[in-house]
Subunit: 202 residues, 2 copies
């Protein structure tokens, strides 16, 4: 066998590790869907999914790492498949609607963002700050495009408008989850309409 061949046994071990990690992640997602993301520990989750604490922490070094992985795996990631002429607001509404279908996911997201704001939580902080930065850049590009197409008012900064749409979407979802009477759809519709108007230079 030539020396350049891949080291098969090691790769086998690696592939097995990836499969095992995925298996543990899938079970964790089921556990979180059933119980929510309330105060817990890696040890308690290991018990619930029926693996040892050592096995779980081999794949996920901390509770935060596991929570981020559960969120990433469960959340709606079809942004790239959304047609370019879909309004950023519609995109956020669709994504929020899809995420609401996954039990516990919105709670998990809120809990990760709240944890990210505390000191000494680098994994949650990296997750939340990266997510917001990427989303602002991505929505900002869409808004810029829609402004050139005359679909959105051109007198607002695309990235500022993106930050506003993201904040409104997150905040209104929270208000609505706490209280069915919160005017989530009405408020998003107001923002959509204001951003679609021709504007003072339109």
């Amino acid at each position: 066998m030539p020396a350049t061949d891949p080291p098969m046994p090691r790769q086998g071990v690696y592939a097995k590790g990836v499969a095992r990690r995925q298996e543990i992640l899938d079970r964790s997602i089921e556990v979180f869907a059933a119980r929510g993301s309330g105060r817990t520990s890696l040890r308690a989750i290991a018990r619930e999914i029926g693996v040892t604490h050592a096995a779980l922490s081999h794949y996920f070094g901390s509770l935060e790492e596991l929570l981020v992985a559960v969120y990433e795996e469960s959340s709606h990631h079809d942004e790239d498949s959304v047609p370019a002429d879909t309004s950023p607001m519609t995109m956020m509404i669709e994504s929020a609607r899809a995420n609401r279908e996954v039990p516990g996911l919105v709670q998990l997201y809120s809990s990760l963002v709240a944890t990210a704001l505390e000191d000494d939580h680098p994994v949650a902080h990296a997750f939340a700050s990266t997510r917001f930065a990427n989303l602002r850049a991505e929505l900002g590009d869409r808004i810029r495009q829609q402004q050139s197409d005359g679909r959105m008012r051109a007198d607002v900064d695309p990235v500022a408008a993106a930050a506003l749409v993201i904040a409104a979407s997150d905040g209104l979802q929270t208000q609505w989850l706490l209280d069915d009477d919160a005017p989530q759809h009405e408020a998003l519709a107001v923002l959509e309409r204001l951003l679609r108007e021709p504007g003072t230079d339109g």
Copy 2:
């Protein structure tokens, strides 16, 4: 002494209890300001402020109750003193700015809201849903007034606009705390400008 006189000893005990509760609350606020609101317990806080667990739980039945009391006591409550012609956006910005001066308060708030979204946290849920409902009603009244005065566009529902302003304010504060580059002020200025424009029927 007439029978109608207040029962002095009992009232003395009550007043002493109120003072003791306040003393414990003040110490808790110092502890939270120093350490943030990260995962903790009544027992750990009792140790940190130097009272027994029994004493602390006599005044605050659960960690959530203590956290809500700490937030209520520390947060900016000068809304009533704000002049009626102050824009709702300026009001939210001023309140957020004042709250940022209190270390740990914004983290505590985010953590309470995230907890409120989880199941089985009635105290946090009542706190957050009441806070949002009151704020929507109060800001909604201000917006209605400013609409009659011609200071805000009249073609948006006041309560929906209030929900939008609250969501944007909370969400942008979160983005900015995670990342100094997040365009918090620019985005709030966009919303303020859009809401101030005369509107289609103005």
